[in-house]
Symmetry: C2
Subunit: 244 residues, 2 copies
């Protein structure tokens, strides 16, 4: 038996998220099916994150155990022949039998892409979320700094979050501007359910003047979900990089 | 009768290009149908360019004549209610009755987006074309300079090109690098059939070492299509801006 770690890139638009569900097309479901086509057996595919419907990934990591003579370094090529074009396995390798794609994560980076326009722009809509004007980039960028470091993010997660602790550490967070809009890039040791989308929603609302930046530390420390910003839409969220 | 100029943004992936054709879904066809729904009459929609199948636009300009009491500055909002989400009219205004969306163009800017990877990357594929490694960005960037200015581009157009002259002026051309790949941006007084895609294909082949940059001026002056690079795929090409 070998434990194989794979890196998956996908555009989440047409999928009901990562996790296998009855009567829904999911990333985990599609990749598990492709592995079955290659290895002739059902595997348990453990992902590093359970991304929501509509969320994309540049490199989601997942592992599975399989008894195969196929070379672990090239098995991803065979898996790809059974995947739709919006899902691709970028690499594969054998890892130690006790390695775990989720528990062993040291840090993850997410990107949240959005653009500012009074009307929907089809070209931008493909991979990013629209926000209304006015949006003050400099203030929004400053707002990011409040979240740096170790905090209890109980007010920045969905009520369905069921982790044992809501304390997380953000190593890096910044808002970049490009000629197609804005990209919030955040790296942390882990993220609670909907945490990145609520961070994005809150930072966007600071930029729009709906939340006063002076109150942001209070809002974070209040641990009160109702005081943070709205959960930003899934489209625009991308799991960018996972480190072990 | 009023002449109305509109600015259209679309993702070309699901369309057979701009021009109305029997048994095909086209941008001109969809927008003409939407105008008919709003104005109750058929119009002749004259676009600034006849983009190929799969090509996108950030702002394609088009005009039509119509007898309507709807405010020309806001008619685009009504038109949008009859368009699919991957096509949007961004603005509309009344212009002089002798203004022409195609003949009066002073300059156009196209972008060609591509990325370098040994395998297809779904997230990048959405709006850009994949090229194989190795790719030398600096040499490709230098290659752009050869095309600056006024030249006979007979060797850089499809044989179906039917313009009276193949001389065109390129005002500006540069290759930019971003964290999602490369963007060739070229501004000129006009472009021959497939010209931007052949320029992109040629510049890419210089970067890949398939064409020697030292021969590029000769290749351009030879007026010989067979010496220029391949026509780069339609996906990745975006009509960015049109000036009058």
């Amino acid at each position: 038996m070998k434990r194989i770690l794979i890196k998956i890139q996908f555009v989440g638009t047409n999928y009901s998220g990562w996790q296998i569900q009855p009567n829904a097309t999911t990333i985990q479901g599609e990749v598990t099916r492709a592995i079955r086509m290659v290895c002739g057996t059902d595997v348990e595919l453990e992902g590093c994150s359970r991304t929501d419907a509509g969320v994309s990934a540049l490199g989601l990591m997942a592992h599975f155990d399989v008894d195969t003579r196929i070379n672990p370094d090239t098995i991803y090529k065979a898996i790809n022949t059974h995947l739709p074009p919006d899902i691709r396995v970028l690499s594969s390798k054998e890892v130690a039998p006790d390695f775990h794609a989720r528990y062993d994560v040291k840090s993850k980076t997410y990107e949240y892409h959005f653009y500012e326009s009074p009307i929907a722009l089809p070209y931008y809509d493909a991979l990013s979320t629209r926000i209304n004007s006015p949006f003050d980039y400099e203030i929004a960028r400053q707002a990011c700094k409040v979240f740096l470091g170790t905090h209890d993010f109980a007010g920045f997660c969905n009520a369905k979050n069921n982790t044992s602790t809501t304390v997380r550490t953000i190593f890096d967070i910044d808002l970049e501007r490009s000629n197609t809009g804005y990209c919030l890039r955040v790296t942390g040791d882990g993220f609670l359910y909907n945490m990145v989308r609520i961070l994005a929603g809150t930072i966007i609302e600071v930029g729009q003047g709906k939340i006063d930046i002076a109150n942001l530390t209070d809002i974070l420390n209040s641990l009160d979900r109702s005081r943070a910003g709205d959960t930003a839409p899934a489209r625009g969220l991308v799991l960018s990089e996972v480190r072990y």
